[in-house]
C-alpha cells in the first residue's frame, strides 16, 4: 500500500508500523535534487562523505552518485586498527556498486599518537576522538570545491546518538529527516547491497559494538514511538495508554530532551542590537543577483 492509498485515521498502535512507510521513489527524487541543488547554490562542485561500510552512508553514497555523478563524489574509508574487516569489505563493495573511487585512510597513527599522550581514557572518549578525526579528514578533503555530506538519520539525531563535530558534523544532510527504518527502505530502492542492509547497525567504534545493544532497544520500536511523539505530536501518556512500553516512551522522550543541545547551533550570547543567529537571519541560500 502506498501512502496516498491509506484510508482511515492514523492511530498509535505498537503492532502497526505502517505509519512509518514512505514512498521511497518520491523521497529518492527529492533527496537527489536536494544534494544537487544545494551544493550548487553555495558554489560547490563536489561532495565528500565517509563510507563506514554501514547502511546509512551507503544510501547517502548512492544519492550523491546519482546527484553529482560518481566522479564528483569523494568517498573516504577511514578505519582504525580495531575496525572490523567486514566494515572494510562492505565499504569497498558499496563504492564499487555506485561507481565511486574509494580512498582509504588509516586513522590509527594519528589517533594513537594522541591516545599515547592522553593516558587512560574510556571507550566513549576514544570513539568520539575517532569520529572527530574522521570528520577533520573529510573537511580537509573537501577543500577547495567540495561540501561534506552528513549521514546521521532522524533516529540518531533525535536520540543524540552521535558525536558533536564528529559524525554529526556536515554541510548538507540528505537523510536527517528519515528514521532508521525509513532509511532502510530507501537503501533497498537505491540498490545498497543486501549484505549491508541485513547486518546489525554498528558505529564500529569498539569491537563487538552494535547500536541496538548499546541503546538498549531496537530501532523498530524506537522509530515508531518517535514518529508518534515527534511527527504526530502525541503526548507520552497517549502512547502509553495505546499500549506502548511506558519505560521506553518516557526514556526516549527524556533522551530527546537531554540531547537537544546537540541538535542546535551553538548559543551566541545576545548583547548587541543585532546578533548572529537571533535576529541577524538571512537565508543560507542567499543568491547573487
Amino acid at each position: 500500500m502506498t501512502v496516498s492509498e491509506r484510508i482511515g485515521s492514523i492511530r498509535p498502535d505498537p503492532k502497526d508500523p505502517a505509519p512509518l512507510r514512505i514512498d521511497e521513489a518520491l523521497v529518492r527524487r527529492m533527496l537527489v535534487a536536494f544534494v544537487r541543488e544545494e551544493s550548487a547554490k553555495s558554489g560547490h562542485k563536489r561532495v565528500v562523505l565517509g563510507l563506514s561500510g554501514g547502511i546509512d552512508s551507503a544510501a547517502v553514497a548512492a544519492l550523491a552518485a546519482e546527484a553529482m555523478g560518481p566522479k564528483n563524489v569523494t568517498a573516504l574509508f577511514m578505519p582504525y586498527r580495531s575496525s572490523s574487516r567486514e566494515s572494510a569489505e562492505h565499504a569497498r563493495l558499496v563504492a564499487k556498486t555506485f561507481g565511486l573511487a574509494l580512498e582509504e585512510i588509516d586513522i590509527t597513527p594519528q589517533v594513537d599518537a594522541y591516545f599515547a599522550r592522553a593516558g587512560d581514557i574510556d571507550r566513549v572518549r576514544r570513539g568520539n576522538k575517532m569520529a572527530r578525526e574522521r570528520k577533520s579528514i573529510e573537511y580537509d578533503r573537501s577543500w577547495p570545491d567540495g561540501l561534506v555530506l552528513g549521514t546521521s538519520n532522524k533516529t540518531e539525531l533525535l536520540l543524540g546518538y552521535g558525536t558533536r563535530y564528529g559524525d554529526m558534523a556536515c554541510d548538507l544532510n540528505p537523510v536527517g529527516d528519515l528514521y532508521k527504518s525509513q532509511l532502510r527502505e530507501l537503501a533497498v530502492l537505491v540498490g545498497v547491497p543486501d549484505v549491508v542492509i541485513r547486518k546489525p547497525p554498528t558505529a564500529d567504534l569498539w569491537v563487538g559494538q552494535t547500536d541496538e545493544s548499546e541503546l538498549g532497544f531496537t530501532y523498530a520500536d524506537a522509530d515508531l514511538i518517535l514518529y508518534h511523539l515527534v511527527d504526530r505530536r502525541l503526548r507520552p501518556e497517549t502512547l502509553v495508554a495505546a499500549g506502548f512500553d511506558a519505560k521506553l516512551v518516557h526514556g526516549l522522550r527524556e533522551r530527546m530532551r537531554k540531547s537537544h543541545y546537540k541538535r542546535v547551533m551553538p548559543l551566541i550570547a545576545k548583547v548587541s542590537l543585532r546578533t548572529i543567529g537571533h535576529d541577524f537571519l538571512y537565508p543560507r541560500d542567499w543568491e547573487a543577483d
Binding site: R235, I268, K270, V271, L273, H278, D279
Partner: protein, 283 residues
C-alpha cells in the same frame, strides 16, 4: 495604601511543576512581607521561549494544574503568567489574576511581537480586548510586555477607568554598544514614566531575569506613580522580590491637580477613528 510585591524571578523553561513550586515560595515570601498582591512576569509558570512546548504546557483557565496558584491566593492576590488553551483550542499568552482562591480575571496578550528576536505570532493567537477589572490596588488593566509598547493600550485602560496598569514582561536586554544603559532598559523606563505621569496612573512593570537560549532578560522591574516618581526599582539582572506601596489617594490628588483623564474626549477619539476607517461617511 496597598502593599504590592513584584516578583523579579527566573522561571525554568518548560518545567511547569518547578515553576509552581517557585511561585509558592515567592508568594510565601511576599506574604511574610505583608503584601496584598504579588505580580509575576509574563509566562512565569512556563518560561518565555517555549516554542513547540507551548501546546503541552498549555492550561485551560479552569485547569486543575493551576489550582496551587488559586490556593495560594487565599491570603494575598496573585497575578501570574501561563500558556492558556482557549475553548476553541487556540493558544494564548495569558496573565491570570487570582483573588481569595479564585481566578477572577485573565488577560490574553494582544500584541504578539513577531520580528527581530521575537516569534510570538508563530506559536500563539492574539487576545481581542483590554478589560478593566477590580484589583486590590484599584481598578486595573493588564498589559503583557509588547502590549505596553502600543500607546493605545495604556490609553484605553486610562480612558476606561483603570488607575493602575500591571505590566508583566519578559524583556530581553540588548543594545550594549549605544553607550550607558541597555537600550531596552532606557526605552522601558521612558515608557513607564511617560504613561504614569500623563495618564495619571500607576505603572507596575515586572520583568524577569535569567537566560534562555543565549538571551538575557534584564529585570529592572519598577513601580512608577501618577506623579512620575519611581516608587521602587529592582536592580538589573538579579532575582529580587521588590516591595512597593500603591497610594490610591495619590491618584486622586494627581487627577485633581492635573485632570487630563477627566477631560479626555473619548467620543472625539472614537468619531475620528470611525471617520478614518470609513465607518462614518457623513460629517
Amino acid at each position: 495604601m496597598t502593599r504590592i510585591a513584584l516578583a523579579q524571578c527566573a522561571p525554568a523553561l518548560g518545567a511547569f511543576k518547578r515553576n509552581i513550586a517557585m511561585h509558592q515560595e515567592w508568594i510565601a515570601r511576599a506574604k511574610a512581607e505583608r503584601a496584598e498582591l504579588i505580580v509575576f512576569p509574563e509566562l512565569s509558570l512556563t518560561g518565555y521561549y517555549v516554542k513547540d512546548l507551548a501546546g503541552e504546557l498549555a492550561c485551560a483557565a479552569d485547569d486543575a494544574r493551576l489550582q496551587p496558584i488559586a490556593d495560594a491566593s487565599r491570603d494575598l492576590d496573585v497575578c501570574a503568567g501561563f500558556v492558556e488553551r482557549g475553548r476553541d483550542a487556540r493558544l494564548h499568552i495569558a496573565q491570570g489574576y487570582w483573588s481569595r482562591g479564585k481566578l477572577v480575571h485573565v488577560h490574553r496578550k494582544v500584541y504578539l511581537p513577531t520580528y527581530g528576536i521575537f516569534d510570538d505570532g508563530r506559536y500563539f493567537g492574539p487576545g481581542d480586548r483590554f478589560e478593566v477589572f477590580q484589583s486590590v490596588a484599584g481598578p486595573a488593566g493588564i498589559a503583557i510586555c509588547e502590549d505596553l509598547w502600543h500607546v493605545s493600550v495604556p490609553y484605553l485602560y486610562g480612558a476606561t477607568g483603570a488607575t493602575i496598569v500591571l505590566s508583566p514582561a519578559d524583556s530581553p536586554g540588548r543594545g550594549v554598544a549605544e553607550g550607558g544603559d541597555l537600550g531596552t532598559a532606557e526605552s522601558c523606563r521612558l515608557m513607564d514614566r511617560f504613561y504614569a505621569q500623563y495618564l495619571t496612573m500607576y505603572i507596575v512593570f515586572v520583568n524577569r531575569v535569567g537566560h534562555e537560549d543565549g538571551i538575557a532578560f534584564w529585570g529592572g522591574s519598577e513601580v512608577v506613580a501618577p506623579d512620575g516618581s519611581v516608587v521602587a526599582r529592582a536592580p538589573d539582572f538579579e532575582e529580587t522580590l521588590l516591595m512597593a506601596e500603591v497610594d490610591t489617594d495619590l491618584v486622586a490628588r494627581e487627577r485633581d491637580r492635573n485632570p487630563l483623564i477627566r477631560d479626555e474626549r473619548t467620543d472625539l477619539v472614537v468619531a475620528q477613528l470611525e471617520r478614518a476607517r470609513g465607518m462614518m461617511p457623513k460629517d
